[in-house]
């Protein structure tokens, strides 16, 4: 007796990861706003990569006269210690996007802003999934603690954390993680509350899967869309925060350039060299605006057909 066998059509395999990634990016190109945003972000990523191998002059060396306006040798001028502003501006992208300096002299790939966002994603996801999926006391306790964290004005938390732990890349990462986690947790919790009512969760529970398996294998992959958009926005906030901290003089440690502290240094010599505040300010603003536009475009396109 013939038994019907499920057939697998080799031509209709699942698309590979690369193809899916490309499909996701193609979605962004549907939106003009998203494309502009992506271009702005990619511009800075390229600048960061170039600065790894080449800058016009060494970024931390005082080679020129102080507070020069833009001229032939120093395209953007020099700062109050006679360092080339273009080189510093280019190198300033590295600490944000490409490298993290640890206290023992080691250098991690990937910048402070991105590690901070990854940290808040991990912490927020764990808390949010537990609150949303388990409910009851878990939910009450976790949300109460997060409410307390949200009640802190961010800047106060930054000030207190940095006063507590001193300056350093990892302290900034920690500060961004702690301030970002409540927002991520709330988002994940609301998504988990929705997803846990679906049938495939019932099925997994009936199979006897552990809560952690259900949370991370069944719920999390289905919540990734809004999470990715949120993460993009958060990278923007993180860059914003790093700039603000640098400006307040409590951010990433010197002497490596950081846009926020460049603005702060230039501000003190604003009468001597007014244009020096403009370049790093524009850099921060354009990168954050780019990330926001990119996230907006992504959200618009991913939710277009869900309405």
């Amino acid at each position: 007796m013939a038994v019907a066998q499920p057939t697998v059509d080799p031509a209709r395999r699942r698309p590979s990861r690369l193809q899916r990634l490309w499909a996701g990016l193609a979605l962004v190109f549907q939106s003009r706003v998203g494309t502009i945003g992506l271009a702005m972000v990619l511009f800075w990523v390229v600048v960061a990569l170039i600065s790894l191998v080449w800058t016009p002059y060494p970024p931390n060396a005082s080679l020129f006269e102080q507070n020069l306006p833009p001229n032939g040798t120093n395209w953007l001028g020099t700062d109050h210690l006679g360092r080339d502003l273009l080189s510093r501006l280019m190198t300033g992208t590295q600490v944000i996007l490409l490298k993290t300096r640890l206290p023992n002299g080691l250098v991690l790939p990937i910048g402070v802003a991105i590690w901070g966002v990854l940290g808040s994603l991990v912490l927020g996801t764990v808390l949010g999934l537990n609150a949303g999926y388990r409910g009851g006391w878990w939910d009450q306790t976790i949300m109460q603690v997060l409410d307390a964290l949200i009640a802190f004005p961010r800047i106060v938390l930054y000030l207190v954390v940095i006063a507590a732990l001193g300056q350093g890349d990892w302290v900034v990462i920690l500060a961004i993680t702690v301030t970002g986690a409540p927002g991520v947790a709330r988002l994940v919790r609301s998504l988990a509350l929705d997803i846990k009512t679906r049938d495939f969760i019932r099925a997994a529970e009936t199979r006897g899967e552990s809560p952690w398996y259900i949370m991370f294998v069944e719920i999390l992959p289905n919540a990734r869309g809004p999470l990715i958009v949120d993460a993009m926005l958060r990278v923007g906030y993180a860059i914003f925060a790093i700039g603000t901290l640098g400006f307040l003089g409590i951010g990433l440690p010197p002497p490596d350039p950081d846009w926020g502290s460049m603005v702060n240094d230039a501000r003190r010599f604003i009468y001597a060299n007014p244009l020096a505040v403009v370049w790093p300010s524009l850099a921060i603003a354009s990168l954050v605006v780019g990330l926001n536009l990119f996230a907006d475009g992504l959200r618009e396109e991913t939710t277009r057909y869900q309405k």
Partner: protein
């Protein structure tokens, strides 16, 4: 609904407790050895230890947390055995602690091993007389001890026949003093009773500085709020009604750019353009006297900066909410039945569309506080934000904790108000 409000009140109380504990512990870990900052790096370990004891830092953290929150005069009263009161000194205008003993207000001092009573006079000065021998009590280790109030507003314990040694910080440096007490409790009423303690930066009570700073910040934030609200709601509604048209695109992109630009960048740009190139406004906010807060010329740039930062956010909120309402079926019905478009917008759409932004603005106060800190630092504006910044940089924990708790209270309070307003405005919650 009463249940809902009660529930949020309770949750807020728990939140505030958690926040106070977290703040205290963080600052505790963070301030490190504050005595090094105050006494300098060349101070000896003995000097530091003595100063720590005088500040009451030698006690365990949970006692200090309690002191900070609800005060320690009730604890000291049991040791002293007399009620402790605060009296304003008519000469210096500052509050002083005295013990109320049989109709007189007393403090104590030791000289050459002999305790003297200082009796408070009406004009704030004190009359000195030797204390009777009967004041000594038996201490835990058999020695004769006496708990009294000393001249620096501390409850202090002297031991008979064993005068202590203390290092006193004076303007000229450290001075070694014999006849000192052995233990100290710096008297305070606690945050909940309106006394956050002494500022280590200024050596004066935090409450002597804080009210002026709070008023300055409220003037700044209030002015910004009055500028932002009408503008933002107007732009938001205009953009929302014209969804997708060039006008909407322009407003949306501009507001996105404004939100995505950090406060300090906006501030520095405004300083550069209006203060330095055009020279029409002063680039910093320096108050020569207290009444300068009403000098509008000084306030224009800080208010403009704060406006620019807030404007974008509220416009985006209002626009999103307006777009949602304009696409809803009841608006389509109103248009289809032939109602004038202007009337549809103003009578039917705006009312519903403004509900979300108003509550969101209440939740947004937290963000505003962050903006205020940066704006005040950029312009040197003497408000709450620059106060907490300076205090945090110095490690002045009493000042940081007081200012931070105040900010948290404002943030949590407005959120509570936002919740209640939302409940009142939304019939679906009101009647459930």
């Amino acid at each position: 609904m009463a249940r809902f409000i009660l529930r949020s009140l309770l949750s807020t109380a728990v939140t505030m407790f958690l926040v106070s504990l977290a703040l205290f512990l963080l600052v505790e870990v963070g301030s490190g050895d504050i005595t090094v900052k105050i006494l300098g790096v060349f101070s000896t370990p003995e000097q530091r230890a003595s100063y720590r004891a005088q500040l009451g830092l030698d006690q365990p953290w949970y006692l200090r947390y309690l002191d900070w929150l609800v005060g320690n005069d009730w604890r000291a009263e049991r040791l002293v055995g007399h009620p402790l009161v605060t009296v304003r000194n008519p000469q210096s205008g500052e509050l002083e602690w005295w013990a109320q003993v049989a109709g007189e207000q007393l403090r104590w001092d030791m000289e050459e091993g002999q305790i003297y009573e200082l009796v408070r006079q009406e004009d704030g000065s004190a009359m000195r007389r030797p204390a009777p021998e009967t004041i000594w009590r038996e201490g835990p280790e058999g020695e004769a001890v006496f708990w009294g109030v000393d001249e620096q507003n501390r409850a202090a314990m002297w031991i008979q026949g064993k005068p202590g040694v203390a290092f006193i910080l004076t303007k000229a440096g450290m001075r070694q003093e014999t006849d000192a007490p052995h233990r100290y409790i710096p008297l305070r009423k606690g945050l909940l009773r309106g006394d956050p303690g002494m500022s280590l930066m200024t050596g004066r009570p935090v409450m002597a500085t804080l009210p002026t700073r709070i008023r300055n910040t409220f003037v700044l934030a209030g002015l910004a709020f009055m500028v932002v609200m009408p503008l933002a709601l107007l732009f938001g509604i205009v953009a929302g009604v014209n969804e997708g048209r060039p006008l909407d695109r322009t407003i949306s992109i501009t507001s996105l750019a404004l939100t995505a630009t950090p406060e300090f960048v906006t501030g520095v740009f405004l300083i550069l353009i209006l203060g330095i190139w055009l020279r029409v406004l002063p680039p910093t906010t320096v108050f020569l006297s207290d009444s300068d807060i009403w000098n509008l010329k000084l306030l224009v740039l800080p208010v403009l900066t704060l406006t620019a930062v807030e404007l974008g956010y509220v416009v985006r909120m209002t626009r999103a909410s307006m777009v949602e309402v304009m696409n809803s079926p009841y608006i389509r019905t109103a248009i289809l039945k032939g109602m004038p478009f202007r009337r549809v917008v103003f009578r039917h759409a705006v009312r519903n569309a403004l509900m979300a932004p108003i509550t969101v603005i209440m939740l947004h106060v937290n963000w505003l506080v962050g903006g205020i800190v940066v704006v005040e630092v950029v312009f040197g504006f003497p408000g709450l934000g620059s106060y907490i910044y300076d205090a945090a940089i110095f490690g002045d924990f009493n000042a940081v904790e007081a200012a931070a708790m105040l900010m948290v209270t404002i943030a949590v309070g407005t959120r509570l108000v936002g919740d209640v307003i939302y409940t009142l405005l939304n019939p679906r919650i009101r009647y459930s």
